[in-house]
Symmetry: C2
Subunit: 211 residues, 2 copies
């Protein structure tokens, strides 16, 4: 069983957050950061931060804190951000277009290599500099371009078929934007991006959490 | 201090997930669901599910589980989903357009009432049926339309100014898509939608969590 199965999603999520904070601190030239500082920025407790980081073998020095660059690099390695990943986006609609123009992906090493669509007017053209391929050749193209991660941004009814093609092409990681629950083998990692979830956290705040 | 401050973000996130699962089960006509079933679908433990739900005063019946409709309605009340919220999107670019055409928001009660932009060619037109307003009248328009939640989908350098305008107009909840860290008063709830984070969870899986 891969080691990641033992670490909860929320821990990985916090690592992403620490990574982002540390990248900012590194740009500002900060040599060290305390668990208190890391905690304050994200409304966590310093104990939680120390626990998370000690789990990955990082220990701050009393009075000095953690070395920023070293800790950022360590988390980058853990999260697989010290290399690049080949990404394909399936669906050249609004969400697909937004993803392709989202420059942060590139900066993090997620390189969008291909976009797929079923619209003959889009196929063969280039979208923000990235070629649009025919989705009917999905599996072959995914293999040919060594795609690591497939992002599904097609309408709900088409999503399961796309996921199955991707799995058949050997893809092991899928990010799904379609508002449907996909059935895929347990050996493939699936993340569902649900944009309503963040809004629900806000509405929870607005009602004051009173049922 | 509002009650929600004592409940962790990850608990609220799980409530959103339960809500989604229960909505699906209700559509399928399932009268009850066990903590085991809820847990399996999201790779949680049944104990975690029971703990979350008991915290909100919901207890399953041994051998029967939880009543689906009742539990869904209860979580809807807790999350503030038993009513509608007026939402404004600032920025009519790719992300703004994707949000406006994302039909799930409407279904959940998040009604996008206005889009703002600074592009004179867009202002005054209608985008997916929603009027595009001049961002230079942001605060006044937010007040006039009783906007509850502002979604920031502008380029990074413009985001802080938009957030400040929204706060000055009395908005208490902000969802930020810009890749910057916003400074806002503690009385306003801020969520940052970082689309890289889900990809990072996938790359973590792909490297097997080995630093």
């Amino acid at each position: 069983m891969p080691r990641n199965r033992r670490i909860s999603e929320s821990t990985v999520r916090r690592l992403s957050i620490y990574y982002r904070l540390l990248s900012g601190l590194e740009k500002e030239g900060a040599p060290t950061v305390s668990s208190r500082e890391l905690a304050e920025k994200e409304k966590l407790t310093p104990a939680q931060v120390r626990k998370d980081l000690s789990f990955f073998g990082s220990f701050g020095t009393r009075g000095l804190g953690y070395p920023v660059r070293e800790l950022r690099e360590k988390i980058a390695r853990i999260l697989g951000l010290n290399r690049t990943w080949n990404v394909a986006v399936v669906g050249a609609g609004n969400i697909g277009s937004a993803l392709v123009s989202y420059k942060e992906f590139q900066k993090q090493g997620f390189l969008i290599k291909l976009i797929f669509d079923n619209d003959q007017r889009k196929i063969g053209s280039s979208h923000k500099g990235i070629p649009v391929s025919d989705v009917s050749h999905l599996a072959d193209e995914l293999k040919a371009h060594h795609i690591d991660i497939v992002v599904i941004a097609v309408p709900g009814p088409a999503a399961q078929g796309v996921a199955e093609e991707a799995v058949s092409a050997g893809v092991r990681a899928i990010l799904n934007f379609a508002p449907v629950s996909l059935k895929i083998p347990a050996s493939v990692s699936l993340r569902n991006e649900n944009m309503s979830m963040e809004l629900e956290q806000l509405s929870y705040f607005l009602v004051g959490g009173n049922g």
